[in-house]
Each structure stands twice: as structure tokens, then as C-alpha cells.
């Protein structure tokens, strides 16, 4: 498993320039707010379009400005955990998780089996019929992760996954996430401004400042 990224995108105050190769394991991407870290994830997921460059995932070209290739997010198989979790408020937890498998056109029984498996894996038993507004912060995060894993993404992007949570909760949830990422074993990128969080969860750390990546970071 490998992602090759070489992109640039002009933002308001600086230009995001990223050249890196991701391999199995968790990459921690650390930077202050407005450093371009979320933008980098969005470019990977296909939500934003870089001005130029190339993104290749396991030999599949996701984006290539020279060849005018820009796969829509639907075809990228990149899982994205939004900072706000972005659970669909009009759907129950089970329906939320069902969205991905259903979009693949799988048979209903197959979809239901995936939903059940994900509910169990993320300890959401008993919450199937609940709506996102009836969940605690931690439950929301697990529901969003379950929804994301149900589509079997080739890369997982985590955008400030703990910023919406209370401090007491964080510790336990970080432990859970660490386990999950280890179990998953594929490529994941964790973006955060919290050094402790990054150090705890990541196998490798990169720093980003004004759109430029580096191995050594200024203390934030």
C-alpha cells in the first residue's frame, strides 16, 4: 500500500506544497490552524482540487493535472473523518452506516450484514435506531468511524478527530482509535494541532507550516 503525493495549491496567504510518499502506518501531520493541513487532506479525498501535481494511490492515478485526471471523491476509496463527524442528522446510526454499502449497489442482506458487523466492531450495539443528535461525542465519533470503515477505504484521513470532545473523554477514545488504526494496518493520516495526540497515535510525524512540510517542526 502506497500513496504518492506531489501537489501544489495556492491558498489565500501562502501556497500549499506537498511532496510525500505515504506507506502503511499512521502519519501524524502536525500544524497550527490555517497551516494548510486540512486542505492537504481535502485534496487527497477529492473534496478540493489542487492547482497542479499528481496523486497516485496503489498505482491508481487519483489526480494528475498534466493528464487532466481528477477522480471524483466517489471513486477514490479514501475515507474521511470530518472534524464535526458530519453524520447525516436525518438518518439513524444504522442508516448512516448503510449509506456506503448501499451506494456500492450491494444486496440488502449484504448491506445489513456489514452494518451489523460495524455496529459490533465499534461498540454501537443498541444504538442502531438512535439519531446523531441523541449520541454523546464519543458515540458520534465511533458512528462516523463505523460509517467510514463500512466502505473499506484504502486510506483513512482523520481531520482533528478529538477537537469536538471533552478532555476526560479524549484519553479513552485515543486509546480506542490507536487500537483501531493498528488493526486496520493500512495507510492513515491524522491531522492535529495537539502534539501529545500526534505523538501517541502516529508512527511517523511531519510538521506543516504555511503550506510547507518538514520533518522538524518549530514548537507549536
Amino acid at each position: 500500500m502506497q500513496v504518492e503525493i506531489n501537489i501544489s495549491k495556492k491558498l489565500k496567504e501562502f501556497t500549499l506544497q506537498a511532496e510525500l510518499v505515504l506507506q502503511d502506518g499512521v502519519l501524524g501531520l502536525m500544524g497550527s490552524s490555517g497551516s494548510g493541513k486540512s486542505m492537504l487532506l481535502k485534496c487527497l479525498a477529492g473534496i478540493e482540487t489542487p492547482d497542479s501535481g499528481r496523486i497516485v494511490l496503489n498505482g491508481r492515478v487519483l489526480f494528475d493535472s498534466a493528464a487532466k485526471i481528477n477522480l471524483p471523491p466517489q471513486q477514490r476509496r479514501v475515507g474521511y473523518l470530518f472534524q464535526s463527524y458530519a453524520l447525516f442528522p436525518n438518518m439513524s446510526v444504522a442508516e448512516n452506516i448503510m449509506c456506503g454499502p448501499r451506494a456500492k449497489g450491494l444486496a440488502k442482506e449484504h448491506c445489513l450484514a456489514i452494518v451489523t458487523a460495524m455496529m459490533n466492531k465499534f461498540q454501537l450495539q443498541g444504538l442502531a435506531a438512535r439519531y446523531p443528535r441523541q449520541l454523546s461525542g464519543g458515540q458520534k465519533q465511533r458512528a462516523a468511524l463505523a460509517r467510514l470503515m463500512a466502505v473499506e477505504p484504502e486510506v483513512i484521513l482523520l481531520d482533528e478527530p478529538f477537537s469536538a470532545l471533552d478532555t476526560q473523554l479524549k484519553d479513552k477514545l485515543q486509546e480506542q482509535l490507536q487500537q483501531l488504526l493498528a488493526e486496520y494496518g493500512g495507510i492513515s493520516v491524522l491531522v492535529s494541532h495537539d502534539r501529545q495526540e500526534i505523538e501517541r497515535l502516529s508512527d511517523k510525524v511531519l510538521f506543516i507550516h504555511q503550506g510547507i512540510l518538514s520533518e522538524e517542526g518549530a514548537t507549536c
Binding site: Q74, A86, M91, C99
Partner: protein
Amino acid sequence: MMLDLSPVWISLQTAAATMAIVFFAGILTAWWVVSRKREATKIIADGVLTVPLVLPPTVAGFFLLYLFGNNRILGRFFLDNFGIQIAFSWLATVLAAAVIAFPLMYRSARGAFEQVDVELLQAGRTLGMSECSIFWRVLLPNALPGIVSGGVLSFARGLGEFGATAMIAGNIAGKTRTLPLAVYSSVAAGEMDTACGYVVIILAVCLVMVVGMNWYLYRCKKQQEG
């Protein structure tokens, strides 16, 4: 005195047909405008689509007459090809009301769509959902309160349309005389009691609709919080 109730039925039918047309047209147009990438396209399209709301209805009626009059280009087309006469028929009351009410529906739907968190749509895309299913299963349900109020407003507007209707549909008793036209005709004929009867009916219907809409919106809000 027996109040001639034909204007009530004509108006209710006109308003219902107007809402049915405008509801879908407004939603689809709003979706089209919201998904444009270029700001200039949005601004210009929005301007063109909103103009009927700010034009004097008689001016809108003038344009309709210009296009749909029995000897004008579109009027001729419908008459020759389908044998349908639009001007000065019940269809003209619907056409006039639809043109005037459309911007209300379109703007309500657009506002409602824009209030839906973009991250929900982006999440849908990363989950592999098609744009079409994101529209039906994510965008539309989460924009529903605003869309329903747009529908109610366009029904009420269809009920109250006067200027454009008078221009293209005329004021034919039992055929194109809607409630607002009946009020006008009664007053013009010095029949204040009859006018008063119509006024009470239209006031009651509009009030019930708008209060009902507010109650529905209040319930939606409660549900979201609860």
C-alpha cells in the same frame, strides 16, 4: 345575499396547481444554481430568476400576454399544435400565478439548500454516494423545513395573485375570476358586502396557512434540539 363561491374554487384550484408546478421547478432550479461553480453564473441566474418577484405584476402580465396571447408566438404554438388556448382561460390564471410565485419557491429552496452543512454533502461523496442520491437522501431531507415554507408561501401567493392574472387571464366570471379579482370587481360595482365576504375568506385561508407553516417550523426546530 348568496355569495357566488366560484371565485373561491377557481382560486383554490389555481393556487394548488401553481404550488404543484412551482414546488418542483423551484427545487430543481435552486439545486442547479447552488451547484454552479462560477460565482458569476450564480449571480446572473439568481437575478433573472428573481426578477418576477420585484417586477410590478402587470409588467410580468404584459410579457406573458406578449408571449402567450392568442396571436403571439407561444400562444399560436399551443393553439395550433395542441388546440389549447391559454390566454383568458383557467390555464392563464395558473400561468400568471406560477410566474409570480416561482421566485418565492426558488429563493426559499436555495436558502434552505445553502444552510445545509457542506460537510454533509462532502461526506456523502467520500462514502461513494452518487450526486443524485446525495440530493434525495441528504440535501433534500435536511433542507425540508425551508422547502415546505417555500411551498406554503407560493400557494398563498398563488391565491393572492392579481395584476398578472388580470392582464393575461382577464376577469371572466365563473372562468378566470379569482378571489382577488372578485374583491376588485365587487368594490368597483359598489357591492361592499360581497367584497367583504370574499375578503374574509381569503384572509382566513391565508392566516391558517401561514400560522400552520410557523407551527410546523417550530416543531422542526424543537425536534432538532430534542
